[in-house]
Point group: C2
Chain length 183, copies 2
């Protein structure tokens, strides 16, 4: 849809601070009134655009190789956040720290569905014997995704493919070690 | 110092959005001109206050028990970020996403010294044989601290002491498993 594409393109060009409803309307060739009929704020427009992008770019695959699938999915997330200063997804995450409505929508529309897909992939790995039956999936979620956000928040540079794979291998080793230690 | 204490107290009461130089001056009993002589912005005042708080509340101890020390240090970080909506430290982290000068100062004055202390503690654990000599300390940093920021960013609720300890145990198990797998 033209409005969503215009919002994404403008955010990449000017950052979230430079994004305005007026600029979105002009780029999309519609009136400001049309935009306000459907979205309450520029954040709401961008959130919907980001929701579409996140759904199409970062799915959880299941090739039977958990380390490969998690590395691929999380490098898809990293791509959505790169470059950090011009990423509409990073902009929405920042906006969510200041706007509770954006935070709730982001969590309900993007994060919670992603967590559900993650848990599905982990249960498949449990059935396949790649990780123990009693692996703590809440801890696994934190350890898999944590490095991305630790680095994002403090501008430490997002992991490249090799670093991501090294972290994924560590987490899987941890889940196996704890399982066998307890079992 | 009165100005820093005033900034911290006001941030806890009104959040960063409600914090102003005028309110800080009034609470501290000084003129706005005095504040502007030493700090360029409300963010700069709060950053200095946060720097003092972070240094005193979340040191890296070394009791010889790595899991206990890391859990204690990170629960100190969690305390600095709690409650999230009224935490001056969380406010500075958000501000750093929009203000490159705050981001640089935060990284140089708080994050990088903390990473140096973390690495010192990890090398001590390597000498004591708690983790392998060749453990990847960059990955360890991401995995230890990642969960805090993943949860902070998406408002998933910060870990309590039991959850933190479970994650710390997982990371240490991972470092041991990878070391023995390679060694």
């Amino acid at each position: 849809m033209a409005v969503l594409e215009a919002a994404m393109a403008l955010c990449r060009e000017t950052g979230f601070a430079g994004l305005t409803i007026e600029a979105i309307a002009e780029r999309a060739g519609v009136s400001k009134k049309t935009i306000y009929r459907w979205w309450p704020s520029k954040g709401a427009v961008l959130l919907e655009a980001v929701f579409d992008a996140a759904a199409s770019i970062a799915p959880h695959g299941d090739t039977g190789d958990l380390a490969r699938d998690m590395t691929a999915q999380m490098m898809g997330v990293v791509a959505l956040l790169t470059p950090q200063d011009a990423s509409p997804v990073a902009a929405i995450i920042v906006e969510a720290q200041r706007d509770a409505a954006i935070a709730d929508a982001l969590r309900e529309q993007v994060i919670e569905p992603n967590i559900a897909h993650f848990e599905e992939r982990m249960r498949s790995a449990q059935r396949a014997g790649e990780i123990p039956e009693d692996a703590d999936l809440g801890a696994a979620l934190d350890l898999f995704y944590g490095p991305i956000y630790h680095r994002l928040v403090f501008h430490l540079g997002l992991p490249d493919g090799d670093e991501m794979r090294a972290r994924v291998d560590l987490v899987i080793a941890a889940l196996r070690a704890m399982g066998s230690a307890q079992g």
